[in-house]
Symmetry: C2
Subunit: 341 residues, 2 copies
């Protein structure tokens, strides 16, 4: 049987790649406002439901790809050369192999994250998006952003959204070959939109999200209701972005995140990413809302809480969460957006 | 249209009640091991799923009913005469009216709880079960335990299980008139079975469970999956009791409680009975299990955690939870079980 991954890459890439040039690319991290949880195809990494995210501006990954002058693949991360047998280097090189398809084109791949480690924000989305852009640039592939998004998906599902800044919707698609499963940027700027990341736990013991998804889909009695409702949430969040309705957006985002975590809590055995301190943060947010401060929570496959709010409430949020890292996703990020050789 | 409640009471009670005699009854509180959450009929108080509980032996309610010598209904609770307009007295007298059906038979109703207030255990189940037994006794009604259980249900759904000691299964039934919706005692004693109630929050601000159920059924996108899976859990717990398989019992009970709370967390707006300290207790239990101590959690419409364990692990549980109230549901409770005039 033909390999569907191979079929996809053969369809978007030329048979023979040129010798790579030096190319650097940046991609932002992103936080899903309507969550992705559960795959409809493990091989092609197709999701059961559409998702919608906000990219994190200057918090992301910068990746430089060039021809390996020593003739041997090499991977550097945050300044350190990694052993090629390390998990990180293996993932990066396996991803590069999807482009190279057996051709002898050794690469040097240098990645730096601009995400503070203490924030606990995942970097796989921005990492694979930047890697996709950088490899494509190095091989002078004339790929569209939509094609780059589809390629990124093979590294990490959420990377398909990190190809763009701002609000991005990743449509689940319906086709078995995944050719309609692609992200798109929403053309809406929302300058007052803010996110505070509240670090609760930054150690990396938690279950990787793809393992967590598999476990939830396989064992959670409540999961069967998720895909359809997550899809409805995604549509509702997109409409709220369009209408700049922060209340509908916030209420939907928070309820969507809680529903996702609820599907995990019902897994057998339990899958619990939140910690008691996460719940304390949530209670702080719920009490703030009762006091008239519009702030909403979202939570991913980890214990940290992300708070959505508007710049007008910045002072109150800083008082409630002095430890929070405040992100302005629509601030000037032209520097990071330049994809230069 | 005929009132279905009236139809039910007419079917089990004589047309005319005799003058009441003095009668005292005791009913134990109970903790659901397979939870009841969601009604299929609000008027007849019929559940969407079957549930299974363990009664709490000498923790319960003792109720004395007698003819009101002053000709006026009166309600006493834990030693205090309540105003007849108080919420508690109104509920008790409205329940008595279901028996009296307009007949002028004033009653004195005296209730005492043997449940420590600090335990945060609900007393409506034992309260309505004891009230049902006491009123039936006072009116010399020759009702079976099954009939008493069905009558108790009109006061509180979970009261239908508090008619018996030990393990009790409340079958949901399928008939619209509720005549097959009745609880039954499981004939299995398990002398080593223990429950520790870990008080987390004993203030009574939380949403009453019937309101919480309505909100969950109406708004939680995950609830649609609950009834069928809750039914499967109930069958699994009953089989585990029969087989004395504490591991299967504990795993199912804990997962069932988490799934119930998960349906609430997905409600819009969120319905959250658990507090950060509840999650700390849960983590303690999960860590204990990793260390080989078989202990499992269950949680109801409140922040307290109930821990299931076997007497062989009593010392470890006492060390982990020095504040816990340990209950031996199969201890001698003949004194409380005597339903004397």
């Amino acid at each position: 049987m033909p390999d569907p991954v191979q079929i996809f890459f053969d369809s978007v890439l030329p048979n023979k790649l040129p010798r790579p040039e030096s190319y650097e690319a940046y991609s932002p991290s992103n936080i899903a406002l309507a969550k992705y949880w559960g795959k409809r195809d493990q091989t092609l990494n197709l999701p059961l439901n559409s998702s919608l995210s906000i990219s994190l501006g200057h918090l992301g990954s910068k990746t430089h790809v060039s021809s390996a002058t020593d003739g041997v693949d090499g991977v550097w991360f945050d300044g350190d050369k990694l052993p090629n047998q390390s998990r990180f280097a293996q993932k990066v090189l396996a991803f590069a192999d999807l482009f190279r398809r057996g051709q002898n084109l050794p690469l040097h791949i240098v990645t730096k994250n601009t995400i503070p480690t203490a924030s606990g924000l995942a970097s796989s989305a921005s990492g694979f998006a930047a890697l996709t852009r950088a490899i494509s640039g190095a091989f002078k592939l004339a790929l569209s952003d939509a094609q780059l998004s589809m390629i990124s998906r093979f590294g990490s599902g959420s990377a398909s959204r990190s190809i763009w800044h701002g609000f991005v919707c990743w449509d689940r698609g319906v086709r078995d070959d995944g050719t309609d499963c692609v992200a798109r940027q929403l053309p809406h700027h929302w300058p007052g939109f803010r996110i505070a990341v509240i670090p609760v736990d930054t150690d990396l013991k938690s279950v990787p999200s793809s393992d967590g998804m598999r476990h939830t889909v396989a064992t959670s009695p409540l999961f069967e209701a998720w895909p359809e409702h997550a899809e409805a949430d995604c549509i509702r969040v997109e409409a709220a972005v369009l209408a700049r309705d922060f209340t509908v957006l916030g209420e939907t985002v928070e309820a969507n995140a809680l529903a996702m975590h609820a599907t995990m809590l019902a897994s057998r055995p339990v899958l619990n990413y939140l910690q008691p301190a996460s719940w304390t943060c949530l209670e702080t947010i719920w009490n703030a809302r009762k006091a008239g401060i519009e702030a909403y929570a979202t939570m991913d496959a980890g214990a940290n809480i992300k708070v959505l709010f508007l710049e007008t409430n910045r002072t109150q949020i800083e008082t409630l969460f002095p430890q929070g890292l405040i992100i302005d996703p629509f601030a000037d990020h032209t520097q990071e957006c330049e994809f230069s050789k």
